[in-house]
Symmetry: C2
Subunit: 279 residues, 2 copies
């Protein structure tokens, strides 16, 4: 069997007009009582049980799933096991849906090689988010994995993102310098992507100008209040695709009751509709 290719999986989803990514930020404290496994079970089992229900309820509506590593790591080895089992479950029930591990990793090259083992080989994610601060050189072990997506943080969704990212570097904003590097020097293998917060539609549209048809992951609609219509208009490429719109808490924790999966599906359906309408 050929190795799964992130870009191909994604293009296949875009063909079907799917652009929504559901973020599995499965904070245990927020998991509804009703999501607990019938026989009880610990933190890890509860998270997996919750995720399975969310995955089942939304898998035909999404172009990707994106678990954020932090919400699993906070429960240690048990959480890490839950993360692995969650990705494994997605691969089983929705083999055509790529998994983006939102881990925002970044270290020197020798250490990044260990991170590729963790993210791609052990956890079996199709793509990972990475930090640009150490430059492109230490990201080589990530880029060398040609079938995997390497999503470089460019302009993040948080309110204080501009403190560093909007610094003016020789007449150019830093996040634009990063976008340019990601689209050129860092993209020898064609597997580099960028991440831009949906809370910054103007910056998103400027990044789109710079990166051409490169995939852009955008996060921050929903709880973080990004404007969906603006995001779609700013984020799409010349073909009217090329973007991944992530919603996490606003979908997965939309209801705290027994109907949590059903309501998550309803929210995902609304978002899916709103995105395709905005195209």
């Amino acid at each position: 069997m050929a190795e799964r290719n992130f870009r191909e999986l994604l293009e296949n989803q875009w063909e079907q007009d799917k652009f929504l990514c559901v973020g599995l930020d499965s904070d245990f404290e927020k998991v509804p009582e009703a999501a607990r496994p019938p026989a009880g079970g610990g933190v890890g089992e509860t998270i997996v049980s919750f995720n399975r229900a969310i995955i089942d309820a939304t898998k035909d509506l999404v172009c990707a799933f994106k678990p954020n590593s932090a919400f699993y790591e906070s429960h240690g080895d048990e959480g890490w096991k839950a993360l692995r089992e969650t990705i494994q479950y997605i691969n089983e029930v929705a083999p055509d849906v790529p998994v983006i591990l939102d881990a925002k990793r970044g270290d020197i090259a020798n250490t990044n090689a260990a991170y590729t083992a963790s993210t791609f080989d052990h956890l079996r994610a199709d793509a990972v988010t990475v930090q640009p601060y150490l430059g492109g050189e230490p990201l080589a072990p990530f880029f060398a994995r040609k079938d995997k997506g390497v999503i470089v943080l460019c302009h993040t969704s948080n309110p204080g993102a501009g403190e560093i990212q909007n610094l003016m570097v020789e007449g150019k904003l830093l996040y634009k310098v990063i976008a340019h590097l990601a689209a050129t020097k860092w993209n020898d293998n064609g597997n580099c992507c960028v991440m831009v917060g949906a809370t910054y539609p103007q910056e998103l549209s400027e990044v789109r100008e710079i990166v051409g048809d490169m995939p852009i992951l955008t996060a921050g609609i929903g709880v973080q209040d990004g404007d969906l219509k603006k995001t779609v208009q700013a984020g799409k490429d010349r073909r009217g695709r090329g973007f991944i719109i992530n919603a996490s808490r606003s979908v997965i924790f939309a209801s705290n009751g027994k109907d949590f999966a059903e309501v998550a599906r309803k929210k995902a359906t609304e978002l899916h509709g709103a995105i395709t309408n905005a195209l």
Copy 2:
């Protein structure tokens, strides 16, 4: 019992002229055959067994231990358990030695809160390394943990560090902008520290100028070839302390034979001596 305080633990070590940090970058592939537990055992058990021997052999020579998360994560839940048990062991046999988790984390505030749970509460590290690219605002959950050290990447040790970190921001190099923010705006709780590669002694001395007596973690002597004497001269504060010099591979993998712990101790002793001589 009062909570352990990173800065106090560190000052106490500096009082005793200890500045060396041993980096537990315990890459399983490089662990000597002789370090395997007598009864056999899996990857995680082997790593813990190796670490215990290294810790026992060097704990009276160091001001800190610094496991790098990547080399544990690459073995999944088993690796994560090994990381937790390694820190637990340090806390047991060397309770006066602080543990720096080199994880280089950085996300939005809501997610960073989960990372504090993982690094400080679950793994029980005394300090963690963090990324500056998202700005100071999302680092608030880290900084809020006043007893913990929050070590911001400033100028890293890798050859390509300058690609981003040496960009000129309104007449000032980016890593100096970060150093200044870390020493002022980001340091309301007095628990911010910075990390500068020993491979860049000039930059290290410039960062020292900017941050005053703030602790500096410096990595990259040994395998990465930083010059120890220059590092000490550039890194020390006005009191002749304030720095942590990390060596990882050059100590822990100094011998591949049965004598691996003994040789690690010999290397650590040499480095300890060379550092105090260079003061």
